[in-house]
């Protein structure tokens, strides 16, 4: 049911085909998603959510991928909402979590720094006790959905530990430089100078890793959606496009390439199912398949969406046509919650070195 509703949503008002003039975040779409109850889908019922699982959320992000939707769903509704729901002092943050649910609050996660390379603990932003609470100082870069967020969840060091804080976009000493990424998602850099912040998690390393593992798996699902859509558009295209007086589909090299793409999609689907089944397991049993799913998504996605461009020829290279947008989304997906180098190293650490 969720699956159909997601597909209807994406193929209806929200999908790429209908927003081609300006592929960007749509507040109207976000409102609809809130109304459909999707924004607190994975939050436990006792924290005001629907108590759904990652499998449900994956159905959504796979559809978003298929429709090439620009949405802060993963950053806000999965990562930020998930972390807020586990806050040390839930009562302080329950209102913000509720606003996420209604679609009023967009909350972005700011963890990456100039030299972190996705390592959540390799940061220099520091928290410091100040009059009436705490302040943060430091810089974060490429904050996913940061250009449209009203609040940020910010990682910082306090007494050598990775801690997590919430900061209002209008807080004193906060400078935001907004821009966008190659896949047209809104992003920003943040600079904190004694910026007031409220504590979310005093020991954030494990919950952050868990939230981001969820994000990785859901990104892999989105990638699968992108790949399936790009592949089916490509298969249709080569049936009709003619060259040298024949349809492209009469060239075996091209149809076998399509078959290779299909195999990659199926490999990702299997890796994804595996990661989803183990998403609530202990960190090691969860982390390896989550990394494996995203590794597979990045590699398979590069191949499938890259070949979607190749098999289209020139038209596939144009911004006006859709397959390039799938490709660019894959490129961005591979540089958000870890890239191949980071994820492979993490996978190897979890599977080939003794605990």
């Amino acid at each position: 049911m969720l699956k159909e509703s997601a597909e209807r949503f994406v193929s209806g008002e929200a999908g790429f085909q209908h927003t081609r003039e300006g592929i960007r975040f749509s507040p109207a779409n976000w409102k609809t998603m809130a109304d459909l109850g999707w924004l607190l889908l994975m939050i436990p019922e006792e924290s005001g959510g629907l108590g759904g699982g990652a499998i449900d959320a994956a159905l959504l992000t796979e559809s978003f991928g298929r429709g090439r939707l620009i949405t802060p769903y993963i950053s806000t509704a999965v990562v930020a909402a998930g972390l807020l729901a586990r806050a040390d002092d839930f009562s302080t943050h329950s209102a913000l979590l509720e606003s996420i649910g209604t679609g009023q609050a967009l909350v972005a996660l700011a963890t990456e720094e100039s030299s972190s390379r996705y390592d959540l603990n390799r940061i220099t932003t520091a928290a410091k006790r100040a009059a009436g609470g705490f302040t943060l100082s430091g810089e974060k870069i490429v904050v996913q959905d940061g250009a449209i967020a009203g609040h940020f969840l910010v990682s910082a060091l306090l007494e050598g530990k990775t801690t997590l804080w919430v900061v209002d976009k209008d807080a004193a000493g906060l400078t935001r430089r907004a821009y966008r990424t190659i896949d047209r998602a809104p992003a920003c850099d943040l600079s904190f100078a004694d910026t007031p912040a409220t504590l979310v998690l005093a020991d954030a390393a494990a919950p952050l890793e868990r939230a981001i593992d969820q994000a990785r798996v859901l990104l892999a699902a989105e990638a699968l959606g992108c790949m399936e859509a790009a592949l089916s558009i490509t298969a249709e295209y080569i049936k009709t496009r003619t060259q040298f007086g024949r349809t492209l589909s009469s060239f075996q090299t091209l149809t076998h390439r399509v078959a290779d793409c299909y195999v990659k999609c199926e490999q990702l689907r299997s890796a994804l199912f595996r990661a989803l089944s183990l998403i609530d397991a202990e960190p090691r049993a969860r982390g390896a398949p989550a990394s494996a799913a995203l590794i597979t998504a990045i590699e398979a996605g590069e191949f499938v969406c890259g070949q979607a461009i190749q098999l289209h020829g020139g038209i596939g290279m144009t911004e006006e046509y859709v397959v390039g947008h799938y490709y660019k989304r894959i490129r961005a997906i591979g540089r958000t919650y870890g890239d191949l180098a980071y994820l492979r190293r993490r996978y190897i650490d979890l599977t080939q070195r003794s605990a």
Binding site: T255, A259, Y262, Q267, S270, L276, T296
Partner: protein, 396 residues
Amino acid sequence: MNLQFSDEDERFRHSIRDALKDLVPPDMARRTRQGVHPTKADLKAWNRIMYERGWAAAHWPKEYGGTGWSPLHVHIFEEELAAVDAPFLSYFGLRLVGPLIFTFGTEKQKKQYIPDILTGDTFWCQGFSEPSSGSDLASLRTTAVREGDEYVLNGQKIWTTEAHYADKMFCLARTNTEVPPQKGGLSFLMLPMDDPGIQVRPIITIDEGHSVNEVFFENVRVPVTNIIGEEGRGWDYAKFLLGNERVTNAHVPRAKRDLVLLKQMAETELRNANGTLDEDDVRRRIAKIEIDLDGLEWAVLREVIGGSRSPAIASALKIVASELQQHMAELAVDLIGARGRVYYDEADLERNDLAASPPEYVPGLAARQLFLRATTIYAGSNEIQRGIIAKQQFGL
């Protein structure tokens, strides 16, 4: 789709594990680990051991001598077998002709053939491929011309695995050359390998091993009662067999065991190499293999539990599994340095007189890598599989 082993599954796994402990004779286990083509004696002995426990045909229904286990339990059973380096039981009786007989055969045929398949007293081989056919069953030429109560068989089969071990063969032959094979021209016949009209010629493969053969038929007379099912339906039955193979051909249990051994071997070699091996590259290749294999296992489990979702899946499994087997074999050889070019004779292996004083896992690796080049060719080359996917999945 959520797929996790239940507590009951885990209990089952442990009961099997306990029962298998010390069951495989050590030298048999070593030969399996070393990837030696199994001897007939090993196969017979192990078949007997399995038979005595009622496990020779674990995947069969109870009424024919199987266990009646769920497909998931069969999968777990096979994993545990692989984990103790049990030899792979001969495929052709237990996997192919057995199910063919109990599904399409007559009561008399069932009584006559099934028991000896279960005990391992009769070994079978399969006569499919022919010199002119390659991946193309539609071009089979072996003919079975009816004369009275007999078919007279003439022609040639090739790539016949274990024909030199086999007591019997089941084969495809054209019982009607007027119509195409797809449209009623093919039938399945069973024949004894000691018929004077049958000649078996070994084919030595590039690993210098002997596992496949050419088989020549010259006026081999087969009683019409030796036909399986109906005359002319050979094409359909062949598809039935291919359907049965869609999961087993991925060889996941065996590959998982091989990966365990490969990882152990890698740790040993990395330790010994002391910097002369490229550790990061080795670990990355292992990771890639493991990720692909875990994915393959999940795909197989989805098939095992959920049944087939798409006609193209079997082809995808075949492509992935065959390339995976090759990559594992290649990495293993890359780990062992200059010993990777030594030819280890199986006789030297048995005498334990080995060149270049290698660790136990070394002999057999180079030959295995060579032999596994065939995985992307046999059972429908990977090119054929891509064609099937393009057609079945995309109408291309």
